[in-house]
């Protein structure tokens, strides 16, 4: 049987579903016998879920407006430079 320490080391691969079937089987067998690790697995999974669900960030409109302005400025600079190759910094 997996030790608790080994369980922790393999936790990510299990959560990300990148571990092989044998590993999944061993993890699942460990958590049926070890309540602590069951709770760790369950609450770590919830931790990731809660972050994915809530941290949707809205971009303030003025920030977006300033960004587009800056890009526009850059664009005309670039065009200017392309038109006047002799002017080098």
């Amino acid at each position: 049987m997996l030790t608790c320490k080994e369980f922790l080391q393999e936790l990510n691969d299990y959560l990300d579903e990148t571990g092989d079937i044998e590993l999944r089987r061993r993890i699942e067998s460990h958590i049926t016998q070890c309540p602590n690790c069951f709770v760790i697995l369950d609450t770590t999974k919830k931790t990731i879920q809660v972050y994915k669900g809530v941290l949707a960030q809205t971009l303030p409109q003025d920030v977006q407006a300033r960004l587009l302005k800056a890009v526009e400025r850059k664009c005309s600079e670039k065009k200017l430079r392309a038109g006047l190759p002799s002017i080098q910094p």
Partner: protein, 207 residues
């Protein structure tokens, strides 16, 4: 047969090609698709709204400037994420308080994976709090992480980059991404347990 096999909602490579020729409208479409995500990423890494706006602008200005260097081997998004991460880390380094915290610190002591608090959570812990309260709890927990862990967590679990993309963006190895992510997740789990645990449950000491 469809002319394009793109699975995305919009044909990104066509936009990139147009933008490369100086088509501002095409580039703006790329900006509009990713500005929200880049701002969020920058805010989480720098922990500062002003810095995040600087990073946001710098990222897209650099992308526009160096569009010719973009080979199209990776996704456009991965490419700008790499720029944004570099800009964010530079901001962080400039802040004097962070000078004592190297971002590429070796962190293989293993002590961070010791779990101290184990308690069952409520069925739907997020429903105990308002959206604002919850956002604050989650933000503060992320802020409490070391920059090296925080950055990996933000890229992997919030921006949903793959392990390989995260390694590429940060210039670290895949095993380093994995070990930092594990520590970040376990530390966050522990911080959140204080808020989300079911009332009346015992807290066990562990190992």
């Amino acid at each position: 047969m469809p002319a394009t096999q793109e699975a995305g909602i919009f044909d990104e490579s066509a936009l990139v090609a147009k933008a490369r020729e100086g088509d501002l409208a095409a580039f703006n479409e790329l900006v509009n698709s990713y500005s929200r995500k880049i701002f969020r990423l920058a805010k989480h890494i720098t922990q500062n709204e002003e810095d995040a706006e600087d990073v946001l602008q710098e990222t897209f200005l650099k992308a526009f400037e160096h569009l010719g260097d973009f080979q199209g081997q990776s996704k456009f998004y991965t490419w700008i994420v790499r720029i944004a991460v570099n800009e964010s880390l530079m901001k962080l380094r400039k802040r004097k308080s962070d000078r004592s915290v190297p971002l590429d610190e070796p962190v293989d002591t293993g002590e961070d994976t010791v779990v101290r608090e184990i308690a069952v959570w409520d069925e739907n812990p997020e429903q105990k709090y308002s959206r604002e309260e919850l956002g604050q709890i989650l933000d503060e927990a992320v802020q409490g992480l070391r920059p090296a862990f925080r950055t990996v967590f933000v890229l992997r679990d919030i921006e949903e980059l793959s392990t390989e993309e995260t390694a590429e963006a940060l210039g670290i190895s895949v095993p380093a991404v994995k070990s930092r992510l594990l520590r970040a997740r376990l530390q966050l789990r522990e911080k959140l347990t204080r808020f989300f645990k079911r009332k009346g449950d015992d807290v066990f000491a562990y190992m």
